[in-house]
Symmetry: C2
Subunit: 368 residues, 2 copies
């Protein structure tokens, strides 16, 4: 059973908001970070592992799941929640970003994207209607519209065309969606603030359940993104959840929360874990470094993740990583996702106390 | 804290025994199957995962851990139990089997084995004394003697030399071992039963805490091993735990329990899991097979492993395996080790009820 979401802002501190997103699969306190489960699994973690990190909303990928195992198969198994045994909320990306990240396999048409599958070359036409049909079969709580994400540094005309087409596709997605599934629109426009603003205005007129900023962290300088967020975050309709897609570092996330963003997703905590990097309040720790060879401490003293609370030492984690033991990947992933979940939970608490700016500056000064 | 083990037989049924092995790290009901944690981790599982399968005794590898991360480092971290956060019992293989499996890197001398490290070619002389020094630093509950494991089909003279040298090395290991660490001897002799019998006689005279059968499952026909076990199992001192090393399939294990064996280890449940094979009471299941594409059932209905009790379907497990998601490896490993733990626990219950032979025949008839 799905059901359209509801969202309320419970407290604010400057532009930062502490909210509550109610879904048919539970409440998600915001700001919230969504772990990425591209193929229906957060790499290395079982569903109970993911819940143990504190996450209550994950994001999965329409394009990847449509190709394998197929949305029809997943629908036959009761949808993603049942198939993946994840009882909490699920968002699904539309596949629009894969048209960007797999650009050499993609042709952009007014009707949609034509993909050559990265698995077997099979042709696939992903229209707004098809993206909604697939997401309807997947049964996510939150579907994302099909959008056009231009490459960084694209010329003005290309940015304008992408924005206009994305608006037309938002309307087509709204017309095609399941009534019981929430739909978010996606704002494009690169780092052209006036173009972004007009796109926000256009999408805000549509009965979308949330608004996302797409097309960031695609190669533009970080400072430019931060400056854009300061303007664009507050410009997004304050009654709807605001989602910054595919971003980012702890610094990016605190900056965006300060600009009023509610939702995030990023592969950074999971991908970096698999490369042996752990996030801590004092900065990043590269576990294979010789300095951890006989270090008896857990990754982080105060951490409640399974790796830290079970007492696995940096020395043991380093040994596992160097020896190629896959347990290292799971333990570092558990730690990093717990770190991200705690970061947004602490940000929320600071917002509720009305001290977000000061708290955030302290965190950033510690070199988070 | 270690402490020499104690062992008692609580019930028997034919030659099969239900026993209890008391260690400084808890009681191990026997028959018991030891998951293999070569490098200090059962591949893909955390310590709590391993305990969740039902295992209370694991086996780790002296040769691999001595090379990486080094026994001195592990001793500095409080020994294997503390380093690996495994609070239950640990046995360590001596490295003798690596002289067999890495034969091309090994030279056999009267004093011990000379290895060229498989990691960096570094020379390492593994004498009986060195094997005990390393295992003493590792701090396992049960150390294994250094032994000579001849290849299958070795000529009589080579088998005899291996047996005699293994006896001399057992004496040297006894003289060199930590007082608070249990030591098992290893019976060799290939499939020459009279040679095996005389080796059993020689080792039984030594104050070893247990006796193991080594050199099986090295290429000889399965039927020959089964015939040998029927003779050799009952010939092993009944007051000491009897351990069949590196064996085997569920059929092998039930056959060996019927011959009075108490302890087992084998990579089969963990390695096969990583190759996508699940053990069930109805036989083995190859998860990537198309027949499981949309199969809603768990691997096994009655199974209490994390994968089955969380309700992960064969369809989802197949998807994870085919998509290269490492979660598949963990879930199949959890299932297979739980299957093995349940197999020996049910065998024990049948022994206590005095019906082991009939129960075992029923299991084998079901095609286990």
């Amino acid at each position: 059973m799905l059901g359209v979401i509801s969202f309320s802002v419970e407290a604010s501190s400057g532009e930062a908001r502490a909210g509550s997103l109610e879904t048919a699969h539970g409440r998600v306190p915001t700001p919230a970070f969504m772990p990425v489960a591209t193929q229906g699994s957060v790499k290395g973690l079982s569903a109970d592992d993911v819940a143990d990190t504190g996450a209550r909303l994950v994001i999965m990928n329409t394009y990847h799941l449509a190709l394998r195992p197929g949305s029809e198969l997943i629908a036959g198994r009761g949808g993603l929640h049942e198939f993946c045994r994840w009882p909490h909320a699920i968002a699904t990306d539309s596949g629009g970003f894969q048209a960007y990240s797999l650009a050499e396999r993609t042709r952009l048409l007014e009707d949609g994207f034509e993909f050559a599958s990265h698995l077997d070359g099979r042709r696939m036409l992903l229209t707004p209607e098809e993206a909604m049909r697939i997401q309807g079969e997947l049964g996510s709580d939150i579907a994302m519209q099909l959008d056009v994400c231009p490459r960084a540094g694209a010329p003005e005309a290309e940015l304008v065309a992408a924005v206009e087409r994305t608006t037309r596709w938002a309307e087509r997605c709204l017309a095609a969606k399941r009534r019981d599934q929430a739909l978010f629109g996606i704002v494009q426009g690169g780092i052209r603030l006036e173009l972004r603003a007009s796109h926000i205005e256009a999408l805000s007129k549509l009965p979308l359940d949330g608004l996302a900023l797409g097309g960031f962290s695609v190669g533009e300088p970080v400072d430019e993104m931060h400056r854009a967020l300061a303007v664009l975050g507050p410009a997004l309709d304050r009654r709807r959840p605001r989602y910054l897609m595919g971003v980012g570092t702890p610094t990016d996330i605190l900056t965006a929360i300060g600009a009023g963003i509610d939702l995030f997703d990023c592969v950074m905590p999971t991908r970096n874990a698999r490369n042996g990097q752990a996030f801590t309040a004092a900065g990043r720790l590269v576990i294979k470094n010789a300095q951890y060879r006989s270090d008896p401490r857990p990754l982080e003293e105060a951490c409640v993740c399974l790796a830290c609370r079970a007492g696995y030492s940096r020395a043991y984690l380093r040994h596992l990583f160097v020896a190629g033991e896959i347990l290292a990947l799971r333990l570092l992933t558990l730690h990093n996702l717990t770190f991200y979940a705690r970061l947004v939970a602490e940000a929320r608490a600071a917002i509720v106390r009305g001290v977000f700016d000061r708290w955030s500056k302290d965190q950033l000064a510690q070199g988070i």
